[in-house]
């Protein structure tokens, strides 16, 4: 059906263009009264030069030059030389030789448009019911999961509130106090030592190698700040004892180490690079399906949010490539919020 529509449009377009090209042509077999007084829009007459020695394709000079008015004598001369058409400056629908074929072409284009629209509608319905390609819902969900996962993995900074809340709910009352103490002391230490040293401490805590490191840090900090270090170590040990190593592994944002900066940047580049090649194009390519489902207005509202999210993801990539992790992480956070809004718009009208 689609092929039929395309064929109809192509043939009608060609016919329409050909017919339109004759709009200013006047067939010389029209009554003389209809031709007399018109102004030539192009040279008229001439023809191939049939002289001995003439080059192939060489032409005679024109009988009448562009701009001349068609007088009775001029018309007679042209007819004598069997000139079929002349081009004039004045348009008249009644003189136009291609008017009926142009009307046919217009009808053909209208018919072709109807057939194409029907075919397109059928395709969208078929695509919506088949599960072959990644649908927009799945693609968007995959993007959201990927962005959330990336945020968790590169978080050297704030722990998402929802995650901390969930963690709190899982812990017993006395363990919650350890968790809070751990988070607060970790914040203080990071402000004093930087994320890299805290990562080393966190990793080494509880191992024989930790002693030297702890002593070095203790010497470096001195004074009242040392209490933060002690709190940090005690709270971490208590949490490890209460939760066990398996549960510790379930708390990536809290206890998984902040990555070294270069590794974080590389991870952002790699993950976003993959997203840009897979789920993001898949979502965008689902446009016909989304338009059919949401209407053009709904689609525009969806894409308003999605595109803003995509731009933030692209910005995160650029910031990572430029070595500015704070900006990259902040962009990912914003992208996550915008993706949630896009998902709400997609789900709300789905």
């Amino acid at each position: 059906m689609k092929l039929l529509g395309i064929g109809l449009v192509v043939v009608s377009l060609a016919a329409g263009a050909l017919s339109a090209a004759t709009a200013y042509l006047v067939p010389l077999d029209l009554p003389t009264a209809e031709i007399e007084g018109l102004t030539l829009g192009a040279d008229a007459g001439g023809g191939e030069l049939n002289l001995v020695g003439a080059h192939a394709g060489e032409r005679n000079p024109p009988l009448l030059k562009k701009g001349q008015v068609l007088t009775l004598a001029a018309i007679a001369t042209l007819r004598d030389r069997e000139v079929r058409y002349v081009k004039v400056n004045e348009f008249s629908a009644w003189r136009w030789p291609g008017r009926w074929s142009f009307a046919g072409a217009v009808a053909g284009l209208l018919g072709g448009a109807v057939v194409l629209r029907l075919a397109s509608h059928r395709e969208v319905v078929a695509a919506g019911s088949s599960g072959d390609a990644e649908g927009p819902d799945r693609a968007l969900q995959a993007i959201r999961e990927a962005v959330d996962g990336l945020r968790r993995e590169v978080a050297g900074g704030p722990v998402p509130k929802a995650e901390l809340r969930a963690l709190h709910e899982r812990l017993r009352e006395e363990d919650r106090a350890h968790l809070d103490a751990f988070m607060q002391s970790r914040t203080h230490l990071t402000s004093r030592l930087g994320p890299g040293r805290v990562a080393e401490l966190q990793q080494a805590a509880g191992t024989p190698e930790a002693r030297g490191l702890v002593e070095a840090v203790r010497a470096e900090m001195g004074g009242a700040e040392v209490t933060h270090l002690d709190t940090f170590l005690q709270a971490r040990a208590a949490l490890a004892e209460r939760l066990g190593p398996a549960n510790l592994a379930d708390l990536p944002n809290l206890l998984v180490l902040p990555r070294a900066e270069q590794a974080r940047l590389a991870l952002i580049l790699e993950r976003i690079g993959t997203l840009q090649k897979t789920h993001m194009p898949a979502f965008v390519e689902a446009r016909p399906l989304l338009v059919a489902r949401l209407g053009l207005g709904g689609y525009a509202e969806l894409m308003d949010r999605y595109a803003a999210a995509e731009r933030q993801i692209n910005r995160a990539w650029s910031a990572a490539a430029d070595g500015v992790p704070e900006e990259a992480v902040s962009c990912l956070d914003q992208a996550a919020g915008l993706l949630d809004e896009a998902a709400a718009r997609l789900g709300g009208k789905g």
């Binding site: 008229a44 284009l109 709190h168 692209n314």
Partner: protein, 610 residues
């Protein structure tokens, strides 16, 4: 419980985007490009926007010399540089026609035209801002040049292999394009070597010229079928970057070259005195161009109508975002209102001060000068808005911007309103429109680049508005200097007989003379528009734009562009779509960069040689 940002983290590094270094570099570089390309455009007949060049040079200066430039900072730099540069096409398409027609405009008259250009530049940018969401977020237009610039900007983070591929594309483009442009340089008054010299060694020297390969001649097609490819890696690269969608562009060219022209020849619709080889040129002027421009208008109109629901939604978010939460993505709507409120009176003022004597004919001949020019200014501003959409759509879908066609229509429109002798007024509006549409399409191209690298639209929009006005002033001043130099040398001010022949303005001269002689084929424009509207009812609304564009633009470039589209499809088929995108895009971005850079270098040499 502590869930705030860890204060321990070092103070966040500010991400460099709009910086003094980027702005100063870009304004200077944009002004330099503008002068060089204005001169070269008048001499050899084409211009370049230069986004790719500005991106490469921006990296060199901001990151290499100053050691600071971020991707987004270089993006701001190339945005400003192209905003300052791109307006020269609008000036050299239109203003020289006044000298060609022997009107000898004075410096104050040229200053008024420059003022109209400044207004056009501002209107062009501000009019297109509300359409960003529509074209980029919703329609997802490709903007091949914008995509290429983004590939360049991202190359430092994309890995060494991709950078090498981009560099390979650049080198190949330079090698391929060198013999095309080299003959513009003269040593001892002799042009340097070009492909034409190689062509003369072939049995048929017409097959290979300095800039084209006549495949039709090679395979024995009759001469009325123009099957000639331009040697232009840039067009090939742009075609590849457009991909399958670009095939529609090829369709219009095929319709004109393989159907319309041969049929017209076979049925005697062309003058009998015309040789077969003259058929393509005649047909282009007689019906391909008016039909193509008409189709483009009809297609664009359908595009706007079909997009109204989406446009409304985009504008709704555009307006509401200004009031609520988070910093806005866009410049506020009031910028647009201020630009229109200031622009229309300034356009009126420039036209009013430029007019001389009483009107002779024209639809508004019965009105006094104040209401007449006020009405023309209002119609002109509305037309600038619509033409900006058309040009931006074309650039977005194909990378081609039919600015000369829009200039032609503007001049015809103003002559119809003000009278066929009001050439100065028509050229003033033509210049304003060309500058506006150049800025509009450049703005959208830059915003596409910005989208791909994550730039903030409002920052790009603000720096463009604040710097674009420089462009028309620099271009008009350069033109004025060239005219003075030509007059001092004892020749005509510009055109044939000088080094600066202004080929595009010569085409406009023909149109103005055609209007004055009553030879404009208005019906063909109308039939073309109807076909464009009808095409838009079927597959997608902008189809008429694509088909019309290639009926009207030179087929040699369209064919090379189409080859790029076909190559993309073939590579996607053989190696997979992801591979074609991952490696084909940087390579073809390199092709675009290579030709543009080489053209710029050769323009510089031509400029120095004088």
């Amino acid at each position: 419980m502590s869930d705030q940002a860890e204060p321990g983290r070092e103070a966040p590094t500010r991400y460099r985007e709009v910086t003094v270094a980027a702005v100063v570099f870009a304004v200077l570089f944009g002004a330099l490009m503008n002068m060089a390309i204005t001169y070269a455009g008048l001499k050899i007949g084409f211009t370049i926007i230069g986004g790719t060049i500005a991106a490469v040079v921006g990296f060199g200066v901001l990151r290499g010399l100053l050691g600071k430039g971020s991707i987004l900072e270089v993006n701001i730099g190339q945005t400003i540089a192209t905003a300052v540069n791109c307006t020269n096409a609008g000036i050299i398409f239109t203003v020289p026609v006044l000298f060609l027609l022997g009107m000898e405009p004075t410096f104050p008259q040229l200053a008024l035209i420059a003022l109209a250009g400044v207004v056009g530049a501002t209107l062009g940018v501000t009019f297109i801002i509300p359409l960003r969401k529509q074209m980029l977020d919703i329609d997802r237009l490709r903007f091949p040049s914008g995509t290429a610039v983004a590939a360049i900007l991202k190359s430092p983070g994309a890995g060494a292999r991709k950078s090498l591929v981009l560099l390979l594309g650049t080198v190949i483009a330079m090698l391929v394009y060198l013999p095309v442009d080299l003959h513009n340089i003269r040593v001892n008054d002799q042009p340097l070597w070009g492909y034409g010299d190689l062509g003369r060694l072939l049995p048929d020297p017409e097959i290979l010229t300095n800039s084209t390969v006549d495949v039709g001649r090679l395979i024995g097609l009759p001469p009325q079928i123009l099957f000639v490819f331009a040697i232009t890696p840039l067009s090939f690269g742009a075609g590849y970057l457009t991909g399958r969608a670009g095939l529609m562009v090829l369709a219009g060219g095929v319709l004109a070259v393989f159907v319309l022209n041969p049929t017209a020849y076979a049925f005697g619709w062309v003058p009998e005195s015309l040789s077969a080889a003259g058929v393509p040129g005649y047909c282009r002027d007689a019906f391909n161009r008016p039909l193509g421009i008409g189709m483009l208008l009809g297609g664009a109109l359908m595009g706007v109508l079909a997009a109204l629901p989406a446009l409304r939604a985009a504008l709704k978010s555009f307006g509401s975002r200004a009031q609520v939460r988070q910093s806005s993505d866009e410049l506020p709507l009031r910028w647009l209102l201020v630009a229109v409120a200031a622009g229309v009176p300034l356009l009126f003022l420039a036209a009013y001060l430029l007019h001389e004597g009483q009107p002779h004919g024209g639809l508004l001949a019965g009105l006094g000068p104040v209401p007449r020019y006020l009405l023309i200014a209002l119609v002109g501003a509305a037309w600038i808005w619509f033409a900006g959409i058309i040009i931006s759509q074309c650039t977005g879908m194909t990378d081609w911007s039919p600015i000369s066609g829009m200039a032609l229509l503007t001049v015809v429109l103003v002559l119809a309103l003000a009278g066929p002798l009001e050439v100065m007024t028509a050229v003033l509006f033509g210049a304003a429109l060309c500058v506006a549409t150049s800025e509009a399409s450049d703005m959208m191209t830059d915003l596409k680049t910005g989208y791909l690298v994550g730039g903030l639209p409002r920052r790009q929009q603000a720096v463009t508005i604040l710097t674009a006005w420089l462009g028309p002033i620099i271009a008009v001043a350069t033109l004025w200097l060239i005219v003075q130099a030509n007059l001092k040398a004892g020749g005509p001010p510009i055109g044939p007989g000088t080094d600066t022949e202004a080929p595009q303005a010569q085409a406009l001269q023909k149109v103005i003379e055609g209007v004055q002689g009553g030879e404009m084929p208005y019906a063909l424009y109308g039939f073309g528009a109807l076909l464009g509207v009808l095409l838009g009812l079927g597959a997608f609304p902008g189809l008429g734009v694509l088909v019309g564009l290639s009926m009207y633009l030179p087929i040699t470039y369209i064919l090379t562009y189409g080859l790029g589209c076909l190559t993309n499809m073939a590579v996607s088929k053989i190696k997979g779509k992801a591979w074609a995108e991952e490696w084909g895009v940087p390579f073809c971005a390199g092709l675009v960069v290579g030709e543009a850079m080489l053209a710029m270098i050769i323009n510089g040499i031509v400029l120095v040689q004088g």
